[in-house]
Structures are given as C-alpha cells and as structure tokens.
Symmetry: C2
Subunit: 579 residues, 2 copies
C-alpha cells in the first residue's frame, strides 16, 4: 500500500511541477564521481559532528546528544531554576554551534554516554556520504549522491541549450538520496536512503520576477518569518503577493514556488492547519543564500522540515566553474551595443608548457580567473621585477615577462554574460508521505476502535472496493462486469467477496484508505445493472448504473468532480449496513 | 523526454502487473547489509572474469576480449579456413567457459591487450558489487544491491502473512540495481546503474498451474527453444497453451508470465517481429533452475536480453534459511490428518552454553538442519563412543551424550510445510526503452531526412502538440481554452506558437514522438470553437469541438479508442500543410 501511495504522490509531483511548468527533467546516476562532490563542497563539508564513547566506541551525533542530555536535566526536579534558564539558552543557540562550542557544553555539564555513562571523545567531523569505487581498478573514487541537485548543475550547459539558451528555465529530478546518518530514527523521518524531488530554477539575478506569479499572488500561506521567530511572535497568514511586495519573501520566483508547494502538499493530503513555512534565521542559512523557507508539517514528532525552498544565488554553478574552468553562464542580449575595456592575463603557452609541464594548464586556469585588482598587481610586478610569483595552493610558480603579459584593449559587445541565480525547491517525499498518513488518520465518532484513513482519492493506493453483499454465486457475473468497467478507466480496485458481514468489510477497506466502495446487492441483478457507490469518509451512498461508474470514479479520483456533485446527480441509497 | 518515457513505461508496468494481478509491492533499500548477499551467494559468486594488461593495468572482461579478438581474426583475410572453423567453434562454446578454458584460449591464440598489444594476466574473478559501509563505525559492511529480488526474499515471511499465509502469491519491486561492470558499453544496454522491475511469484512446487492461464492459452509467442538452438533450427511460433501442454515451457505459471511479458512489451511499443523468447541451454542455466526463457529483442546491437523469466525452484528461500535458520516456508492443509515419525537432535542447551559459549547457538542451528541420514550417524556415535564430533567449517565441537540425544517420536499433523518455488520475471527497463526507441524510428516515404518516432500514445512523453496556424494574437484565448481542456484530462502537451511554418512545426513534434497535434486555424474563432486533430503517424486530420478534445485524446492515449474510431466519428479535415 505504501509503495502505491508513494508512486501516486510522485506521479502527481511530476504533473504538478514538471508537466504544468514545462520543466526539463533529468535522471542522473546515484553513483557520483568524487570530483563533482569535491567541487560542490560536499567532500570537505557535508559532515555532522560526532562524539564517541571512549570505552565502547558507540557513536552519537553531538547535537542530538546535547539536546537529549539537556532535556533530561530540564525534566529533572533537582535541577535549579538558574541552571534551567542557562540550559534553555544553550538549546536555543545549539543550531549554530561548531565543534568547540559543543565540546565546551559537554565539558561544562559533564555529559556522558547515555548508554554506558562513560566519558565521551571530543566532537569529530563525520562525513555523511557513502564512499565506494567505480570500475575494476579500484582507483576511481565515488560517493552515493547526498542530493540529486548536483546532477542538474553538472548538466547545466546542455540543459541551457535544450532551452534555446534562454533564461529562466527549471530542471527537475526525482531520485534517491543517500546520507550515512549517525543515528537514523523516527521511522521515515530520518533515514539513510530516501526519495527526493528537486527543482533547480535558473534565473537572471537582476530579475527574479515570475511570469505566472500573478496567478498565485492571492494564495494565502502561513509564514513564520525570521523576525517573528526572533521576536517570539507566532506564525502569521499572508497573501504571498503581499509577502513579496513587503520584502518578507525575497522575490517572486521564490514566492511562486512556495505557493505551488503549498498547493501540492494540500493536494496530496496535508492538513493546511498543520503546515507552515518557516524562514531560516541568518545564522542557519549558508553565507551565499539569499533567502530560505522550509515547509514544515506538524506531526506527533513536532514540526518536521519536509520541503526546503531556497534562493542559493549563483553559488553552485560558480563552484563547478571554479573546479573545471568551464563557464556555466547564460547570455543576455544588451539593449544596445556597448564598448568595454578588457584587461586580461596573456600567458605564452608554449614557454609555460616547456617550463612547467603538467602544471601549465592549471597556471593558465588560475591566470584566467584573476580579478582586475590582481591583474594590476601582476602588471606592476612584471614591470618592476620582470617576474611574477604565482601561488597556487602551496606551490609557487615564478612567471617571467617572457611567459606572461597583461593585455588591455577595448571591444564592442552585444550580449553580456550572466551567472544565473538558482532557486531550489527540494522535497523529501518520505517525510511528506509520513505526514499525509498521520493527517489522514481518523476515528469514527463514538467508536474509537474504528480507525480509518481519509486519503485524497488522487493519491489513495486503491480507488475503490468491490463488495458483493454476500458470496452468492449470482453476483459473480456482475462482479466481472464491474471489474471490466473499472479496468477500462485504469481504476485500481480490490474485490472482497469473502462472505464476511458487509459492515466488517467496509471497516476493513476504510482502514487502508480506500475512498470509495461499490456494493453489489440483489437489486443489481435487474437490467440495466445498478450498484451502490459509498463514500468512505461520510459513509453516504448513491445508486447508479454500472456503465456510469468508471467515468464517475475517474472524475472523482482526479478532482474533476467532487462527491457533492455525484450526490446531486444520483439518487441517495439508504442502508444501515455501516451500523 | 527520456525521463517521461521511462516514467510512463514504469507506470504501465505497475498497472499491467502489480494492479492487474493483485501483487504485493515492496520498496527496499539499495544499500544491502553484507549478510544478505552472503546468504544469496552474491559475495562469493557474483563476479566476471577479468584480464589485465600486465604493463598498464588496463582491465578487460575476459569473455569480451576473447570475442572481440576472435571477431577480428575472422574478419582478417589472412586467417585460414581451418583456423576460422576452429575459432567459430570457440565462439559458440564461449558462454560456458570458466577461467581455465579462457586462459587456454588466450594462450593458444596469443591474444594481447587490444590497446597496447601487451601481454595479459590470467583471468581473475572480479566481484561486480559496489562495496561500502553503513553507519559511523566503519565495521558494518554493505553493498549496493545487484538486483532487487533479495529484498523480496528477506521479507518473505511478512509478505506471506499479508497474503493470509496462502500460496500462491507474487511480490514485485521497482528500483535501481547496481553492477560494477568491467566495461560498460552500448548506451543503455550495459550500464553500471539501472532500473529493474522484478516479480517473485511463490508457488507450491507440486502445483504450478495458474488460475488465469486459460485467458492467455491462445496467445502466440515466438519461442526459440533449447532444442531448436542445439539443432540449428529457427525460432517457431507457438500458442503458449500448446507449449506448456507439450512440455516445451515447463509449467503454466512460467508460461503465464511469458505471455503477460509479451503483452506488456507490445503495449509499450516493441515490434513483435523483433521479439523472441529464447530458452536457456542446460549449461547456461543455474544448476537449481527448472527452466528459463529470456525475452530477447532485436536491435542494431543484435538480439538483446531484456527480460528474464526463470523458474528458480526453491533455491533463494533455502539459501536464506540456511544462513539464518529462519524457516521460509508456507503451510498447506493436508486432505486428511496424518501420523508421521519424527527424528530430531535434542541438544541440552544449558550444558552446551556453558561449554561452548557464543558457539552454542551456531551448534544448535547446525544440529537442527541435519538430515535423517546424518542423525542416524549421530545416534550411532553417541551409543558407541558417548561422543559425537560435530564439524562446522574448520572447527570441531566434541558433543557428549550429556549434551546431546537423538529423539524419536510420532505425531499427528494436519498441515504440511512446503518450500515454495519461485518464478522470477525480471525486467531491465532501460534495455526495453532502448529497443522501443529503435523500433519507433521511422522515415517519411520519399524523404529520408524527415525522421520521426511512432511511440504508442500510452507511453509517449507528450500526448499532444498545440499549434496555432500562425502567431496572430486572436489565437491566444483559443490556445488557453485548449490548454484548459487538456489539463482537465491530465494530458501532457506542448504549445508551439513560434510562428514557424506549420509544416516545419509538425515535423518537429513528429521527431520527438508526439502522437497527436491540435491545430488552431481561423475557422477555430467561430463558435462553437473547433480545432483539427492530426494523427502524426498517418498525417491524417479530423475536425472537432474543443470541448470534445480532452475526452477523445484521453481515450486515444489509454487505448479505449483507436484513431480509426475517431476517424469514423468526426469529419475528415484536408490540408496540404504537411507537404
């Protein structure tokens, strides 16, 4: 059932985003060569701080250990009010702590291993990527991707071409992400392998307007802005149009995706009263990010981050450019031709090649990336000393004026290069699915034991049950007619002709979230054959011809019609079988 | 476009197999703990033979190297007819070669590295699984799964429960498989990461009949039996019912899946004239397998294995039982109660525990798995020597008659345990997709330059194009009406209002396999608004109201109606715009 629910949620995601917005879709590999993840910064920085039990070697995520240890102290009656205030303050700042901050807290409060009570190591960085090797030689290092986004960035040039070299455009990817969590927990919430849906929307950094923004401008979202969080104010309802106009949300494109995110989450069954968009605080956000809003959903585990909507500026593309010296830029036609002054390093490659062999290429790359200020310095050095010492990492390359000059000239340009900004909505589908299941959970009034799920028909694994009122053989040909009708409309269904009481069978189908039920009774034998259709949530029933059932259910399952439309059209059927 | 095609193929697979057959679906992780793959035999045996260039270390798959080297010799005019015959014979037997056979061939014909001409190493086994570690300690070994099947086997007990403990039932999984191929090649045909769809159908080994077999019995397949292959006869058309009756195909369940496989492949666009089912030869098949038929599709790379349909007997479940001592069996109610004689080893666990500590559990496991013959030997040893030396791997455990007895008694049983047989259809979706694209390729008669794809509407990424006859603004509101109509039926579509000549735009949409095109012309302005609908394959057009387009296209895209039905219902529209 879970697989079918997930498949339906993914299919709707594809329709809602990729098809409706005309996005490009890619399907990259999970195995990712190391250079890609070095460029993106993941090899160096995609890590959690971990502490170890000094005797047993048990590992704990440092921030989780501190949080749990503090919560234990706060719950302890012996803890003084002063200490509680102090600990509350640590908790509030924990998100921004580095290893030294955490070590200081662990030392100060003498936190130990929660399992053995043993002393703990200092926090060490633990990279969350799963390493492996590709190919038979063993010397081609790779990782399982921690996110799908990098596959889009490294394909940027081809994607831009597919879009006739025009900005803005968006590319999307649905696939597995892998993170070697130190302590996986909470069911589908923190797992080591999970399905992500990511969009990278590339846009001119000087114009982040969105052509379809006016369509969603009046859409109301619950926003929990950084200001509200700092001032201790609650989240507030905003029209997304007003939020962008008043600068609460950075720009139209980001706002557009937040509104579309809200629509998607509601479509698949998230309760809007348990959904908010929380802005990242300044210290939470990466230094390059412009703005970031997480869609958080309230579950029994608290508010869970399920979707990130971030404006990452030009960070990602620039990282890959730095690593490969392949420009990842778009061109914008200037309103008028323009004369510009060019200053650039002009290395003499054949001399450089003889002198520095394999390093020549690297020297050329670094020279081509020098800023105007650095070039002025190079020019001065070459003029005064006939030599410029170029430093790359820990190496120094002495470049003489035979090898290098600084050229200045002016040229007429008709286009300008722009480094696109990236707006990145990133969905953790497993987390959304978990929230949908919690929000769908119901108990029948007056009977707590009768639990059921109200899943939106759009994502329900099975759209309809088929229940003959008894297991009398006369129903068999009618069951077959109903099955054929449902199959014609690709409606997933489940026949239960077990002979159990009909009320018990209804309860069973309600439990697994089947939104509609077809009942075949003795009246069904008369021609034209009719059946009753039951709406699980309200337990109301209507009666209609078998030949009408497929179209109606197809419409109900895709939202083209609502149950109230069906009730208005077909006669009500009264039965006390649900009692 | 490829992502959408693949998503549609997977969605159809889910409908055709999982929904229509009422299968259980699971979604297991790609990361698989080592013990699972040790039990399945993959850690020990999932390897290819590899030879290395002795100087450069370049690696080659031994069988590929031999095949390519022989083909080069065969193409060489200087090769004598005798040698050619000899080499042809080697090629024919190559599939069954082990490392020694291959080494003999490489030595005899002095095959060298195809890149450098250097000598080659002897063949060494190279395991095709990608290794990694799970968790922070680094001592929990894991692999990326080489197939999805193992996830189903290790969940067998729960799946059986979900099926009310009844046989037969089938479980399916769609997901990534990973194989560290020595030399990936041929586009989507041999890749290191690929999407698989696998079914494990569990069935009573003494009754492999299938309740729905009669529905497919008259279905005609092209079968290339082992006999035909050995005798040099061509493949032959068979009704699958006859093939099972005459023992060509081992049993009904296997035959049923072959017929359903055939139906699926045709639905997604495989040309039936380029599809055959080839039976594995005795030396190709694993020793435990009962029968195996690969669906092979003819492409420009030759006949490519795209689907395996294998009867694997009880091998897989038994392997996991051996490794874990958890019985993976089903129960069958006996026609009548039965008295049986039981002989079993009765270890005295508290003595064993004191004597052998951690090994006691392992000893118990091995004792419980002894055969009646082995138990007779144990009984004899205990009676004569008061001691039985139990060997496990390289260890010997001396068990005294204080620790162990052999018990005999009789009991009445009402059910019997059965070890289910497994019928396994396994689809490589990337390979099928590649074949579909090749088979969909067409050129317009009389104009080789005008290439197009005839994809079945069911799987076509975009169902319909929307083309105003010119970029006149009067068409804009009508385009919007058409878009709304198409969106209501979830029909993927692409608007091209670029103002290029209509014929050129048709050609463009034909190239990417859009099966239908809506054209908006000046007649469309009159109310009720009408448009023309063009069938890309035949280039014929009909005219209909916009309000009818959604339903019709939805029916055409799911196969509820054919183009000929639409032609019969709506007036033909004549235009020479395709010229």
């Amino acid at each position: 059932m879970g697989c079918a629910l997930k498949a339906n949620m993914l299919q709707e995601w594809r329709k809602h985003f990729i098809l409706e917005e005309g996005m490009l879709e890619v399907d990259c590999t999970s195995l990712t060569p190391e250079p890609v993840l070095k460029a993106s910064g993941h090899v160096e920085r995609f890590a959690d701080w971990m502490v170890k039990d000094l005797k047993t070697g048990d590992c704990f995520r440092a921030d989780h250990l501190i949080k749990n240890s503090i919560e234990k102290l706060l719950a302890d009656k012996k803890t003084t009010a002063d200490l509680k205030n102090e600990l509350q303050d640590v908790l509030a700042r924990l998100e921004g702590f580095d290893d030294k901050d955490m070590q200081a807290v662990i030392s100060k409060y003498k936190f130990k291993s929660p399992i053995t009570g043993n002393d703990l190591s200092e926090p060490v960085a633990f990279n969350l990527m799963f390493p492996t090797q590709i190919g038979p030689t063993g010397d081609f290092k790779a990782y399982l991707r921690p996110e799908t986004a990098q596959g889009i960035f490294v394909n940027f040039k081809r994607l831009l071409e597919f879009n006739q070299s025009k900005l803005p455009f968006a590319a999307a990817q649905i696939g597995q992400g892998f993170r070697n969590e130190i302590s996986p927990r909470q069911g589908l919430i923190r797992v080591r392998e999970f399905t992500m849906c990511e969009i990278e929307h590339f846009v001119d950094p000087t114009d982040k307007s969105h052509p379809k923004f006016k369509k969603v401008a009046d859409h109301v979202l619950t926003l929990f802005s950084a200001c509200n969080q700092m001032d201790g104010n609650p989240a507030k309802e905003w029209k997304i149009g007003d939020a962008v106009t008043q600068g609460v949300v950075n720009n139209e494109t980001l706002g557009y995706y937040m509104a579309r995110c809200h629509q998607y989450l509601l479509k698949v069954g998230v309760d809007p009263r348990r959904l908010r968009f929380r802005q990242h605080l300044a210290n939470e956000m990466a230094h390059y990010a412009q703005d970031c809003w997480d869609a958080e959903i309230l579950t029994s585990y608290g508010w869970i981050e399920c979707v990130g909507n971030a404006d990452r500026a030009c960070y990602d593309l620039r990282q890959h450019y730095k690593a490969t010296n392949v420009k990842l830029v778009a061109e914008k036609v200037l309103p008028a031709a323009k004369n510009i002054d060019v200053v650039e390093a002009a290395p003499v490659m054949n001399i450089l090649g003889k002198e520095f062999r394999q390093s020549a290429k690297k020297i050329q790359t670094v020279l081509s990336q020098l800023t105007p200020e650095q070039l002025a310095e190079v020019e001065l050095e070459l003029a005064t000393n006939k030599l410029y010492n170029l430093k790359i990492d820990s190496e120094t390359y002495p470049l003489t004026d035979k090898m290098l000059a600084v050229k200045k000239y002016s040229k007429t340009v008709y286009v300008e290069e722009i480094e696109p900004s990236v707006i990145e909505p990133s969905y953790g589908i497993g987390r959304v699915m978990y929230a949908v299941l919690e929000h769908a959970f119901r108990q029948r009034e007056g009977d707590e034991q009768r639990c059921f799920l109200v899943l939106p028909p759009l994502v329900a694994p099975i759209k309809c049950s088929v229940l003959p009122i008894s297991n009398n053989v006369v129903f068999e040909p009618i069951i077959e007619l109903v099955r054929e009708e449902l199959a014609r409309y690709d409606l997933s269904h489940k026949v239960d002709d077990s002979g159990n009481a009909i009320g018990r069978r209804y309860a069973r189908t309600d439990e697994i979230g089947i939104p509609f039920g077809i009942t075949i009774d003795f009246e069904s034998e008369q021609k034209p054959h009719t059946v009753t259709l039951r709406h699980a949530e309200s337990m109301q029933q209507i009666r209609l011809e078998i030949s009408e059932v497929g179209r109606l259910l197809s419409d109900l399952s895709t939202g083209r019609q609502q149950w109230s439309d069906a009730q208005a059209k077909y006669p009500k059927f009264e039965a006390n079988s649900d009692e």
